[in-house]
C-alpha cells in the first residue's frame, strides 16, 4: 500500500480564486492511500518545496500528488523536489487544477468539485505508480545548425567558440541569408554587409565549423544527444575544394539572361554564378535550369576558361550521413507573395515594389549600384509612397495575409524613408500606416527623427487602391486623423510585405517532430521561460523561424540557443525517458504485432528458454524492447493482442484507474 501525500497549491489567486483549495485538500484526505494532505500559497516556491520535502520525510511518503498548474510547467520541478527528499521522481503525479480547471471555470463550487475529481484521479494513478530508473545514453558532441542566415551564423559561431563542432546546412550556394541582401540596418544605419561579412568569414575560417552550402536536410532519425541526419548536397557542378572563386567563368558564360534571385529578379546573372562578391564559400555554382551544357551538351565555355579545372558537369547529388547531439532550426523568413494583393497593382506595374526590392535598389552592390530609380524607366522618382502592414495584422483578410504583426516593417520603412530623404532631399516621401510600432532601444527616437528631422509625411490610414495611370501611380487612401479620402500621385510605391516562415520550415518540423503554430512558426517549449527550445528535446530555435524579429533580437536569440546547445553537449551522458514500453515475457507469444507498429524499430525478438512441465525446456520467441531507442509512445501496447506489452509510467492499469476515478 502506498503512503501518499497530497499538496494543493493556491498559485496565489490563480487557483485559489475559483477553487476552494482548503476544501480540496480536506476532501482528498479520505482517498485511498492518502496519509497526508496540505495546502500552500506557492508550492513551487522554495518554501513550498521544503514543505513537500519535510512531509515526505516526516510521513514516510511513497508517492505524492501535487494539485497545481500543468505538468508541462512544473512536473520537472516537483520530481526534483521528490528526488531531493529521497523519493523516486516518478512517484510524483500532477493534478492540473490551474490550466484545466481554475482558469476556465468561474463558479467556485464547480471549480472545486472538478479539482477534487482531478486530484482523486491523480491519486488513483499514483497508487499504481512504481519507481522508475532512467537509462543513460551517450551524447554526440557535435551540433547541426539548419540555415545559414545571421541567426544560424551567430549560433554556429557561439557553439564553435565553446569548443564543439558545428555543421551549418544552407540551401543557397552561400551563407548570409536575408541580412546579406540588406543595405543599411536600423537604428544605427550601419551597413549590413560591413557587419555581416566579417562574421561570414569567421564562420568560413573557424576550424570547428563546416558549411554544407547548396544542401538540405532530407532525413532526421534518432533522439536528443543521438540524432542521425542525412544531408543532401546538391550537385553544383563545380568542385568546391578546387574552385578559387576567381569569377572568370561567371564573366564568360554566354547564358546571360538568368533572373538574379539575389537581386530579386531585378537584374540578370549568368548560368554559372557566385551570388555576391563576399559569398561564403566563394565558389561558383552552375544553375542546371539554364546551363546550355547541362541541358543540351553543347557549350562548355566555363570548363575551358577555368584555370583550376574545377568544373565537373558529371557531378551528382551527394547524400551524407552525419551524427549530431543537438539540432538548431534557423530557417528564417521570406516576405509573403504580393500576387494576391491585386489592389496594390504589384503585378501590373514595375514601379510597385516590395521593401526588400527597395533594399536592393538602395544597395551600392545592387542592380542599380545604389541609385534609386524607377524600375520601369530608370528615372529618379520624385514622389515615393510607402505602404505599411501589407498582409500584416490582416485578421479580416486571413486568406491572403497574416494575422500577426511582422514587427520589423515600421522600423525598416522609417529607415527607407530617412535614407531616401537623406540621399535625395528633393524627393517627397509619404508613409501610410495603421500604427507605428517602435518598441526597442533607440527605435522611437529613430522614427521621430524620420518624421521630424527628415520631413517624412506620416499619414495614419490604409491605402485602398493603387492604379497605374500613364507613367504615374494613383494612390487612393484614407486619412483617418483628418477623416478624409486622399488621392495622391506617386512615382514609386513601396509595399512593406508581411514576413512569413520559410517554406522549408514545415517539412523540417515534420522531420524533427517539432511542433509548429498555425502560421508555421516553430513553437517554443514555453513562450516565456523556454523561448529558444522546441518542445522536442534536443531541438533548438534561432531567429525568425520562431517568430518575426529584427537583427538585434535574432542575434541575442541565436546566442541563447547556442548556450542551450552548449549546455547539452557539455554533458557526457543524458538521462533518458524511463517511461518506455516493457513486454511481459510470460505473456508474450512472439506474434510480431508490436514490432510492426513501432515507429522507431525499438522492438526485436529473441528465443528464450523457459522451464516446461516435467523438467522439459521450452524455447519461445518473445519480444524485447530496446529501452534506449523506445520513445514511449505506447502504440505497441494497443497492438499487442495478449496484453503483454505495457508502458511504464502510463500503464494500462494506471490509465484505467484514472478512468474509474473520473467516472466515479
Amino acid at each position: 500500500m502506498q503512503r501518499i501525500g497530497v499538496f494543493v497549491c493556491w498559485c496565489g489567486s490563480n487557483i485559489a480564486g475559483t477553487v476552494d483549495v482548503k476544501a480540496v485538500a480536506e476532501a482528498l484526505k479520505n482517498e485511498p492511500g492518502v496519509v497526508h494532505s496540505a495546502n500552500y500559497q506557492y508550492m513551487c516556491s522554495q518554501a513550498g518545496q521544503e514543505l513537500i520535502k519535510d512531509a515526505i520525510k516526516e510521513h514516510k511518503l511513497t508517492g505524492i500528488v501535487v494539485c497545481s498548474c500543468s505538468p508541462r510547467m512544473h512536473e520537472g520541478t516537483f520530481r526534483k523536489t521528490a528526488e531531493a527528499a529521497g523519493l523516486n521522481p516518478y512517484m510524483v503525479e500532477i493534478a492540473n487544477i490551474r490550466e484545466q480547471c481554475s482558469w476556465i471555470h468561474k463558479d467556485i463550487a464547480e471549480g472545486t468539485e472538478k479539482a477534487i475529481v482531478l486530484g482523486r484521479t491523480a491519486i488513483a494513478k499514483v497508487n499504481l505508480n512504481a519507481p522508475l530508473m532512467a537509462g543513460e545514453s551517450p551524447v554526440t558532441k557535435r551540433a547541426l545548425v539548419i540555415g545559414g542566415g545571421i541567426a544560424g551564423i551567430q549560433t554556429a559561431l557561439d557553439i564553435a567558440d565553446a569548443g564543439f563542432e558545428v555543421d551549418i546546412v544552407e540551401t543557397k550556394p552561400t551563407i548570409g541569408g536575408k541580412m546579406a541582401q540588406l543595405d543599411k540596418t536600423f537604428p544605427t544605419l550601419d551597413c549590413a554587409a560591413c557587419i555581416l561579412t566579417p562574421k561570414m568569414v569567421d564562420v568560413a575560417q573557424h576550424e570547428k565549423i563546416k558549411i554544407y552550402s547548396y544542401s538540405e536536410v532530407v532525413d532526421v532519425r534518432g533522439f536528443v544527444g543521438n540524432f542521425e541526419v542525412t544531408i543532401k548536397k546538391r550537385a553544383r557542378f563545380v568542385k568546391e575544394d578546387i574552385c578559387t572563386g576567381c569569377g572568370l567563368c561567371t564573366e564568360k558564360c554566354p547564358q546571360k539572361k538568368v533572373p538574379n534571385e539575389f537581386n530579386l529578379g531585378m537584374d540578370n546573372r549568368r548560368a554559372i554564378y557566385i551570388p555576391f562578391a563576399q559569398a561564403v564559400p566563394k565558389v561558383a555554382t552552375i544553375d542546371p535550369n539554364y546551363c546550355t551544357m547541362l541541358k543540351t551538351g553543347k557549350c562548355g565555355v566555363c570548363a575551358k576558361v577555368c584555370t583550376a579545372n574545377a568544373i565537373d558537369y558529371t557531378q551528382k547529388d551527394e547524400f551524407i550521413d552525419q551524427k549530431y547531439g543537438a539540432i538548431v532550426a534557423a530557417t528564417g523568413f521570406n516576405p509573403i507573395s504580393m500576387e494576391k494583393f491585386d489592389e496594390f497593382a504589384y503585378s501590373q506595374s514595375k514601379d510597385v515594389i516590395t521593401s526588400l526590392e527597395f533594399e536592393r535598389l538602395m544597395n551600392a552592390a545592387g542592380p542599380t549600384a545604389g541609385k534609386l530609380v524607377r524600375p520601369s524607366d530608370g528615372k529618379h522618382p520624385q514622389k515615393i509612397v510607402f505602404v505599411q502592414c501589407v498582409g500584416s495584422r490582416c485578421a479580416a483578410c486571413a486568406e491572403k495575409g497574416k494575422e500577426y504583426c511582422s514587427k520589423i516593417c515600421c522600423m525598416y520603412t522609417a529607415k527607407h524613408a530617412m535614407l531616401t530623404r537623406d540621399k535625395y532631399p528633393d524627393t517627397d516621401v509619404t508613409v501610410f500606416y495603421i500604427d507605428v510600432r517602435t518598441p526597442g532601444k533607440n527605435f522611437d527616437e529613430f522614427y521621430r527623427r524620420a518624421a521630424e528631422e527628415y520631413g517624412v509625411h506620416y499619414i495614419k490610414g490604409m491605402v485602398g487602391k493603387i492604379s497605374p495611370e500613364g507613367d504615374k501611380l494613383m494612390v487612393r487612401a484614407s486619412d483617418l486623423l483628418a477623416n478624409k479620402q486622399i488621392n495622391m500621385e506617386a512615382d514609386l510605391v513601396v509595399l512593406a510585405a508581411a514576413i512569413e516562415p520559410d517554406k522549408s520550415a514545415r517539412p523540417l518540423a515534420t522531420m524533427l517532430t517539432a511542433s509548429m503554430d498555425t502560421n508555421d512558426f516553430f513553437t517554443e517549449a514555453h513562450p516565456k521561460l523556454r523561448p529558444v527550445e522546441s518542445p522536442t528535446a534536443g531541438v533548438f530555435l534561432s531567429g525568425c523561424c520562431q517568430g518575426p524579429k529584427d537583427i538585434p533580437e535574432t542575434v541575442s536569440q541565436a546566442g541563447a540557443a547556442a548556450a542551450k546547445v552548449i549546455g547539452l553537449l557539455a554533458k557526457d551522458k543524458l538521462k533518458g525517458n524511463p517511461c518506455v514500453a516493457h513486454s511481459d515475457e510470460m505473456m508474450c507469444n512472439g506474434c510480431s504485432s508490436c514490432e510492426k507498429v513501432c515507429p522507431y524499430g525499438a522492438i526485436t525478438y529473441e528465443d528464450k528458454e523457459f522451464r516446461g512441465p516435467n523438467r522439459t525446456t521450452l524455447i519461445r520467441r518473445i519480444a524485447k524492447v530496446n529501452e534506449a531507442i523506445c520513445q514511449g509512445c505506447g502504440c505497441c501496447t494497443v497492438a499487442c493482442p495478449s496484453g503483454a506489452m505495457d508502458l511504464k509510467g502510463f500503464a494500462s492499469k494506471q490509465i484505467m484507474a484514472e478512468v474509474d476515478a473520473i467516472c466515479k
Binding site: 505538468p71 476556465i104 475529481v117 482531478l118 518540423a509 515534420t510 507498429v597 515507429p599 484505467m656 466515479k664
Partner: protein, 144 residues
C-alpha cells in the same frame, strides 16, 4: 421547483505533445468549456487502448473524446494514424452496440489551437448532453 439539470461525464484523452498543450493554452487564454470534461494525459493518442474507452462507458461515462496531433504532425511520427484507424473500427462497433456515434469522437488539436480545444469541448458536451445519459454499457454492479 428545482430543475435537476443533466451533467454528462466526459473523459477526454489528450496526447502530451499537441492536445494536452492545446488544453493548457485554452486555460492560459481563459477560454471556458464545461467542467464535465476531465482530461487524462497520455503520451500519444495511439496509447489509448479501446479497452479504456469500453471501461469508461462501463463505469458510467456519457462520452469519450480522444485528441491527438494533426495527421502528419505526430510527435512519434505515425501514432495518430493508428489512432484514426483503430477508433474508426471501435466507434463503428460501439454504434452497433447502441452507443450513439455522438458519444465518441476523435479530434486533432495542435498545441497552438487552444480555441479549437475549447470549441471542440463545448460542442462535444452539447452533443452528449442532447443524447442524455448513457445507459447502454453502464455496469450497475460498478456503482456500489
Amino acid at each position: 421547483m428545482q430543475v435537476n439539470e443533466f451533467k454528462p461525464k466526459i473523459v477526454a484523452f489528450c496526447c502530451n505533445w499537441c492536445s494536452y498543450a492545446g488544453a493548457d493554452l485554452a486555460g492560459s487564454n481563459r477560454l471556458a468549456y464545461p467542467a464535465e470534461v476531465k482530461v487524462i494525459r497520455v503520451p500519444c493518442s495511439c496509447r489509448v487502448n479501446p479497452m479504456f474507452i469500453l471501461r469508461a462507458f462501463q463505469r458510467g461515462a456519457d462520452g469519450v473524446i480522444i485528441c491527438g496531433c494533426h495527421p502528419g504532425d505526430c510527435h512519434y511520427t505515425s501514432g495518430n494514424y493508428y489512432t484514426r484507424r483503430r477508433m474508426a473500427l471501435l466507434f463503428s462497433m460501439l454504434d452497433y452496440l447502441g452507443i450513439e456515434k455522438g458519444r465518441t469522437r476523435v479530434e486533432w488539436v495542435s498545441a497552438a489551437e487552444g480555441a479549437k480545444f475549447a470549441q471542440t469541448m463545448n460542442d462535444f458536451v452539447q452533443t452528449v448532453t442532447a443524447l442524455g445519459e448513457n445507459k447502454r454499457l453502464e455496469d450497475l454492479r460498478c456503482k456500489k
